[in-house]
Symmetry: C2
Subunit: 139 residues, 2 copies
């Protein structure tokens, strides 16, 4: 497999990571995802990692990078389906993912993005979210 | 990887097939998916095969089996994201997948399932779809 599929669902994009990421695959995902955010004018990206039983520092950094990149492009990335063991590893590895949005599953992640979208539309339709947003809150 | 993740989205389940299926993985997917259809009372199942560049007769039969099984359980399966080469192969292999619902992408597949759901609710809320339904129509 040379690339991970990106599925469009309304205003959002969904990526399901099912395999361990090696360097080339991670770079391909970064390129594809940022290109698709721009092309589809996506407002949010959901990254499902429910298949991953373990993460290493490379994978953790990659999640952080993708979140930062999509934020630059005016979209919000939400990591969904994280297993408890993975959360433990990320904290124990000391990875600073303080900007990472998380949700229990895809449904809740999508509800979170939809409510953010509605809030930002009500606030005047700003493309970027304000810095004060509670981006790390579990939904 | 020992199993393929199944994501719940509202009334529907989404499965993204990213790897070539071997026997054990296909059987595990059948078991998991049928169990989840019952557990989550799903009305529809979306199977995304946009990653698959080729299919063989085993994969084709598996798609047919999953469609038939979910139908037995009162849900509708829709295969989405099929590449042209895959469609050609399925026809050339002579696989009889006449009951297979297909849609161009996840968004359209979900729209198709939603409209079926609304139609069946209007028709008196039958759990099973009638035999006369145009199940092979592209949406």
């Amino acid at each position: 497999m040379d690339k991970i599929p990106i599925l469009k669902m309304g205003h959002f994009l969904l990526v399901t990571i099912q395999v361990d990421m090696h360097d080339r695959l991670a770079l391909a995902l970064q390129d594809d995802l940022t290109a698709r955010v721009v092309k589809d004018r996506a407002k949010g990206v959901l990254i499902d990692i429910s298949s991953l039983e373990v993460v290493d520092s490379f994978m953790g950094r990659m999640l952080g990078n993708i979140t930062a990149m999509t934020h630059m492009l005016g979209a919000t990335a939400v990591v969904v389906g994280m297993r408890p063991a993975v959360a433990i590893t990320i904290v124990e590895l000391g990875l600073s993912l303080e900007n990472l949005c998380t949700a229990l599953n895809v449904e809740r992640g999508m509800a979170m993005l939809t409510s953010q979208l509605n809030t930002s539309a009500e606030a005047g339709g700003h493309e970027h979210h304000q810095k004060g947003n509670p981006r790390t809150a579990h939904f």
